[in-house]
């Protein structure tokens, strides 16, 4: 799926609160007034989003670094 950052193993996680398996859904990331769209593993009931370590330390960290100045 285009713009999807969900690995198959991410979908084996369950939302602790809702006891439901995560599924791929739209998420909106906001940083410094900019919104970015991505398909991420989310809880279909409460909308809680899982950001994998790979994504957090990879592309999301790069967004932060690119938008920061000296």
């Amino acid at each position: 799926m285009k713009n999807s950052y969900a690995n198959p193993e991410d979908l084996r996680w369950k939302c602790h609160k809702c006891d439901m398996f995560l599924s791929v859904g739209p998420a909106t990331l906001t940083y410094m007034g900019n919104t970015i769209n991505a398909q991420l593993p989310v809880c279909p009931q409460c909308g809680f989003v899982l950001v994998s370590e790979e994504l957090a330390l990879g592309k999301i960290a790069e967004v932060e670094q690119l938008l920061e100045d000296k």
Partner: protein
């Protein structure tokens, strides 16, 4: 040196102290330009302007403008929690600024280490902080340079490197020097150059790129040959443009570095920005340097021959017809706030520049650890001043888009990677405006022959008779 000469040099010393607008804002320390004695110095407002005032018992008063008008001096702050350098190569014996190396009273780590590869130069500029000329002084050999890289690596393993001079391209082994730096583990190596060899030799830029060069810090004072004739002694604009072209072809990021001198090129600030944007993405940013009076310079060191940070910022807004605003710029997170300004922008497909960080930098008054700011700067500079990962026709976001919100993550990353542009500037200190608070906060350090790290402005400092304190050691 007679008293009469000192008064001619510093006419503001004649100002009456009785003006009701004059107010001492804060105190620091400086040196007497004549005898180099350490003396108290005061930051004094006179209307919207600020002067550094000091008085030597033997050589009288000195007053040097350090700030003119808006953005207001007292709002230009970015406090830091001082950090002692993890490795100090010198002991404290004589006190700042006579123990540089760095010593334990320094308050910032190294963000950029400069290695001077030669004293020789193929220009003879009217202004040159290194007083370089075309003499047969021997260059440090490759073993000495390897030693310098090693000393930097031990003290500041993750810093950026700038290779400087003299004119470093006069060394035929420059590719080997760059390779040595990369082997020593440095990820970002920048070349400070007048660009002549890059322009004159077709494959030269490619050979530097192949050796591991990331970026060129290109002396670029204006968009007319009159400026180059006045500052550098000859018409150079075509050479400068050719140097940019060669770097673009080789995939080396270019930063235009104009030295701004009132009456010579301050009126071209907007045109330099315009040219830089025309040459984007090869040109990654512009870094202005208000003229300083150290090394070789014309004799007249008067306040009307100085231009300050707020004046450059204001000129950017006015001369770009509002394409950038003064409010887009902020004080630095690494060095002392009074040393520089910076703004980061996106070159929008629909035209114009969009500031991308002004929001966070409007809240900078909470002190942050100095080394955190330094690390952010190391990363930010290396990314911004290198060639973009996406180039040429692959630049993201063609068309008329003028917003970056709502893109998907990959599209957003490509867009920002390929379209960011920096506008910044740094005000160096000379013997007249030297402020030891600023010097202790310095993050740009020159490697001396004996392997010490000496703050840039201390290394280049010369007294009234042009005698250096550190250069040559």
């Amino acid at each position: 040196m007679s008293k009469t000469v000192l008064i001619r040099l510093m006419p503001e010393t004649m100002k009456a102290d009785s003006s009701s607008e004059r107010r001492v804002l804060s105190q620091t320390e400086s040196l007497c330009p004549v005898c180099l004695k350490k003396i108290p110095a005061f930051r004094v407002t006179d209307g919207l302007d600020v002067y550094l005032e000091k008085h030597c018992e033997s050589h009288g008063p000195f007053s040097t403008v350090i700030w003119r008008k808006d953005p207001h001096f007292e709002t230009w702050t970015r406090p830091k929690i001082p950090i002692q350098p993890p490795v100090c190569y010198t002991e404290i014996t004589k006190g700042c600024p006579f123990d540089c190396g760095l010593c334990a009273s320094h308050r910032q780590i190294t963000c950029t280490a400069l290695i001077e590869l030669t004293k020789r130069c193929n220009l003879h500029c009217r202004y040159c902080f290194a007083s370089s000329q075309n003499l047969d002084d021997p260059d440090p050999d490759i073993n000495k340079i390897e030693f310098m890289f090693k000393r930097v690596r031990e003290a500041a393993p993750s810093c950026n490197i700038q290779l400087s001079g003299g004119e470093p391209t006069l060394r035929d082994d420059l590719p080997q020097v760059i390779g040595t730096g990369r082997q020593a583990g440095f990820g970002f190596i920048q070349l400070n150059t007048n660009g002549l060899r890059l322009a004159n030799e077709k494959d030269y830029a490619a050979s530097l790129k192949e050796s591991g060069l990331s970026s060129v810090f290109l002396q670029f004072d204006g968009v007319s040959d009159e400026v180059y004739k006045a500052l550098r002694g000859q018409a150079l604009l075509d050479k400068k443009r050719l140097a940019i072209e060669q770097c673009a072809r080789a995939g080396i990021g270019v930063v235009l570095v104009p030295m701004i001198v009132p009456g010579i090129n301050a009126h071209e600030i907007g045109s330099i920005l315009e040219l830089g944007l025309k040459e984007y993405p090869a040109v990654r940013g512009i870094h202005f340097q208000p003229v300083s009076y150290f090394g070789r310079h014309p004799e007249s060191v008067e306040n009307h021959n100085r231009i300050t940070i707020p004046e450059i910022i204001t000129a950017l807004e006015i001369q770009s017809n509002g394409m950038v605003a003064a409010s887009d710029f902020h004080p630095p997170g690494c060095e002392n706030a009074l040393c520089s300004f910076s703004g980061k922008f996106l070159v929008m497909p629909g035209g114009g520049l969009m500031p991308i960080v002004s929001e966070t930098n409007s809240c900078c008054n909470k002190p942050v650890r100095a080394d955190i700011g330094a690390r952010q700067t190391i990363f930010s500079v290396a990314g911004q001043w290198s060639a973009p990962k996406v180039q040429g026709s692959a630049i993201a976001g063609q068309g008329t888009t003028n917003s970056i919100s709502g893109m998907d993550l990959d599209g957003f990353l490509d867009f920002v990677r390929s379209r960011s542009f920096s506008i910044s500037g740094m005000a160096f200190q000379d013997i007249w405006n030297l402020d030891l608070d600023r010097l202790r906060d310095c993050c740009i350090h020159i490697v001396s022959n004996d392997g010490r790290l000496i703050p840039f402005c201390a290394y280049n400092l010369t007294d009234i008779q042009n005698k250096p304190i550190y250069r040559g050691q």
